[in-house]
Subunit: 90 residues, 2 copies
């Protein structure tokens, strides 16, 4: 499987840096063998978006803030649909 | 000034993820207006390297582990040499 690049774009004015860093670590631990690079992209305007290889997998404005489980499932479905996420899938 | 991309490449087998995440946050707070993107790139082999726009500014194998102050000064010298880092420069 090809390695992936994950990007978390988030609004700094909204004080979402801790949330972005938290989610980044969650994804680092779950996809430690798949991640080539995981980036934080500070922006503003109430943005909180997660992309995999520049493909959007989560947008707060459409879907609300994600539990890490939901993001992990969305990424898994995209990069390795057969994989079980263990407890996360329960 | 053009926005910058910072990359922290680190050995996961060495358990340096917490250190990389810590340094990332230090740099996010100091260069919040300059950073377009800050990335973690998990690797192995005892690597701990920091790059700005793909230009190496710190290499543990040459320089040892950095205090954040030293990395901040190296980045400041590269992107905005006139800027004071306040207490960090004292």
């Amino acid at each position: 499987m090809e390695k992936i690049k994950i990007t978390i774009e988030y609004c700094t004015l909204c004080q979402w840096t801790p949330r972005a860093v938290w989610l980044q670590q969650e994804l680092l631990y779950t996809f430690n063998n798949e991640i080539e690079e995981i980036s934080l992209r500070p922006t503003n305007g109430g943005v909180f978006k997660i992309s995999v290889n520049e493909q959007l997998v989560w947008d707060r404005k459409e879907q609300g803030f994600p539990e890490p489980k939901k993001v992990k499932q969305a990424i898994r479905d995209l990069v390795d649909p057969e994989r079980s996420l263990g407890h996360t899938d329960k």
